[in-house]
Symmetry: C2
Subunit: 170 residues, 2 copies
DNA sequence: TTAACCATGTAAAGCGTTACATGATTTC
DNA sequence: GAAATCATGTAACGCTTTACATGGTTAA
């Protein structure tokens, strides 16, 4: 799936591997992110498959290798975009722990729920700030909807865990 | 993390690899599941590390290899249980697609949202049925809470996507 | 009798992260 | 002059799935 996301970013403009990584950190980080050790080999493979072309340029004394998407790349991306998505497993470590909380002392459960709620709050706040920044740029409505989804999602998660904390504190 | 979940199941009673897999399918499937190709080697490693002991028995002509958790295994599990959980990335394929929906035709977007909403509904229904079954057994309250969390989660997701569908249909 | 289920395991392959390696420029 | 950032890449490792391999029992 990661290769499709790379293609997705390149649908808009040509980019370097570094730029893709940095853009991800500032936009898809809450639902998707990856390492350089994944990005560069993926770009190489996509180029070998004919879905990308690259051009090298020296900018400020540094090598800049920009990738552009080809017609076949666009086709592959659009086909993927129209496919049905599988229901995702939640795969949340906090939820895994929760399942086994009968083996943990009550005060430790309360501590853990507290700190997790705090981090969920921070996450929603960080994303709200990001949203404000994005409003100044012309950002497409689906990207904005994704971000809003993320903010609502973490807010919902926070409320769910707060409800549980309240239940057991009583 | 998977090894901790195996230990978690064995905290309650001794089990075979097969039983762990089947129990997962019926309880943690919505947030965690795995393959036999992961379970059996994990059990082997945990035994080698001294966190489990095994006993073999022939039952109905079939080999049954049951694993029991040791004191060191319990210690490892409890330490993990008390650790802080990282905020999970959403990593939902549907959300990844949504982010790039500006590249998809409106009617195809509507189709995809429709089918995804349907599958989210089915998921919540399946889990609600599971919950009813569980009520007949003495299931501990945290396992029940996890299941309830899952039902609410998929209901929330369905509503979020329905809201989006409504917004663009107008 | 045959399909489904019980039951255990290995090997190969895929996917992704972390660590390593390098070196220039820019900012403090 | 040091630290941060820009920029590209490889190699080793780890985790997990899929496919393969085997063989008994139970229910339709």
């Amino acid at each position: 799936m990661f290769d499709k996301i790379v293609l997705g970013f390149l649908m808009e403009r040509k980019m370097t591997g570094y730029a893709i990584k940095k853009t991800m950190e500032k936009s898809t980080n809450f639902f998707f992110n990856t390492s350089y050790g994944n990005i560069y080999p993926t770009l190489k493979k996509l180029e070998e498959a004919g879905h990308l072309t690259s051009e090298e340029e020296i900018k400020n004394g540094k090598l800049n290798k920009s990738y552009s998407i080809t017609q076949s790349g666009k086709q592959v991306f659009r086909r993927w975009l129209g496919e049905n998505s599988d229901i995702a497993m939640i795969r949340d470590e906090a939820l895994c722990r929760l399942f086994f909380f009968s083996h943990l002392e009550k005060d430790k459960i309360i501590d853990e729920l507290h700190s997790y709620i705090g981090r969920l709050e921070t996450q929603a706040e960080t994303m709200t700030k990001l949203r404000k920044k994005f409003q100044n740029y012309e950002i497409d409505s689906w990207k904005m909807k994704s971000l809003d989804f993320g903010i609502d999602y973490y807010t919902y998660m926070r409320k769910s865990f707060q409800k549980m904390l309240k239940e057991i504190s009583e």
